[in-house]
């Protein structure tokens, strides 16, 4: 599809101090091939209306800041080419299911709190080794493939926004947090699965999901949180009925156990 020469953009504006409901403002900018929605927003901010607000950081789809609804679809503004939209009329709205701070900026605090509630980090019982590491944790490529997909999450919040359950149930942990719970439970280096399962194995945890799959459909990084949640439910069920598969934990490599291959330089000496 070719880039239109001029695009007509409607942006939902909202100023908390003005006290009236959000409304749409319209702008027209000239478009060049390769321009993204993010670039169009910058053009508006620079030349037409300096008060337009939206989150932006990396401009390359890795920070997860610029999530918004573009023509009714959940997308990252920096990853959406104007040519791909197939129209010269664009409507930009902030992510639903989050409170709006201003214009296209949504308040993602809930997303982060829910993410934090599932302990999204490696939990180990050998605290001494964990905090002052002397050796490596060994993990095979097969073990890594079991959770790697879910490690690509960039916390953009599109999944939680598209989820039909979150639109009414604020207590639902959400696909993002549940996928991360699965990611850490499956990581062979982690030993925190029992405590994480206590958080997710709840009526408003993984059992509130109805597999609508909207989270996976909108994920810009292909993380497939719906798959993570169903697998997490499988694991919770197994745990509940006592047939949990034992996880092959990561072994701690003994010093000198792995011989470095020829030609690969060693690490520089420790500075701390």
């Amino acid at each position: 599809m070719s880039t239109p020469t001029r695009v007509h953009i409607k942006i939902q504006r909202f100023r908390p101090d003005e006290g009236h409901p959000p409304q749409f403002n319209e702008y027209e900018v000239s478009a060049k091939p390769g321009m993204t929605v993010n670039d169009a927003l910058f053009a508006i901010k620079e030349k037409l209306d300096g008060s337009v607000s939206w989150r932006v950081s990396c401009r390359m789809g890795i920070c997860g800041s610029c999530g918004m609804k573009i023509n009714g679809r959940w997308m990252l503004a920096c990853q959406t080419q104007l040519a791909d939209l197939g129209t010269d009329r664009i409507v930009l709205e902030p992510l639903p299911n989050y409170p709006i701070i201003k214009d296209l900026v949504a308040d993602l605090t809930e997303l982060y709190m829910k993410h934090r509630s599932v302990n999204p980090f490696i939990v180990r019982t050998d605290r001494e080794e964990f905090e002052k590491p002397t050796r490596e944790y060994v993990q095979t490529p097969e073990q890594m493939e079991g959770y790697l997909q879910f490690a690509y999450c960039i916390l953009c919040g599109l999944c939680n926004s598209a989820c039909p359950v979150i639109s009414t149930d604020r207590k639902f942990i959400g696909p993002q947090a549940l996928a991360q719970a699965f990611r850490y439970n499956t990581d062979s280096r982690d030993e925190g699965a029992p405590s994480r399962l206590k958080v997710v194995d709840e009526p408003h945890g993984c059992w509130r999901c109805h597999f609508a799959g909207a989270c996976s459909a909108v994920c810009p990084r292909g993380v497939d949180p719906a798959l993570g949640i169903q697998l997490l439910r499988r694991d919770s069920l197994r745990h509940r009925i006592g047939i949990a598969r034992p996880k092959h934990g990561a072994a701690v490599a003994a010093a000198g156990e792995f011989k470095r291959r020829k030609g690969i330089p060693g690490a520089p000496p420790k500075t701390v």
């Binding site: 909202f14 409170p99 493939e145 009414t168 597999f211 609508a212 439910r233």
Partner: protein
């Protein structure tokens, strides 16, 4: 954050969010319809148990009840009911399998353009199979209500 939060402006979406599946995947539409079907069926269950209790009154009330349901509108409603039961049941089977981790695939490295496995080929073929089964049920029910039942109606 010192700015006041205005929670009522389209955020959260509320109950409309259950049914607004525009620009989203097929399974999301199925979820909305599954929910509607379920609620309809609960209502129907109450009506059905109450109606069929008429048989306790003897042949006269039962035959009177049969006369009230011998009506094309009711037949259409019953066909719709078969459709609702078929959809809810078949989608339910799909959900049961997915929620125990079957038919949804294994984690894979995300490679552009990201096609989530849980919404991928295996699920789609399964959905197609279920739709074919559902279609057969609907055609069968249509045959019943269009052909056999009217011919069984008492003449005059």
């Amino acid at each position: 954050m010192s700015q006041p939060r205005q929670k009522s402006y389209g955020n959260p979406k509320g109950i409309i969010g259950w049914f607004d599946s525009r620009h989203l995947n097929l399974e999301r539409y199925f979820y909305s319809i599954h929910r509607l079907c379920g609620i309809t069926l609960v209502g129907y269950l109450f009506i059905h148990v109450y109606d069929t209790a008429t048989r306790l009154g003897g042949p006269a009330p039962w035959n009177a009840f049969l006369l009230t349901i011998e009506n094309p509108l009711i037949y259409a409603g019953e066909w719709l009911l078969v459709a609702v039961v078929a959809f809810h049941g078949l989608n339910g089977i799909r959900l049961i399998l997915a929620e125990v981790g079957l038919s949804i695939g294994e984690p894979q490295r995300p490679i552009y353009p990201y096609r989530p496995k849980s919404l991928g080929k295996r699920q789609r073929y399964f959905i197609l199979l279920l739709m074919i089964v559902g279609g057969i049920l609907l055609v069968g029910a249509a045959l019943e209500y269009l052909v056999y039942v009217p011919s069984a109606m008492p003449k005059g």
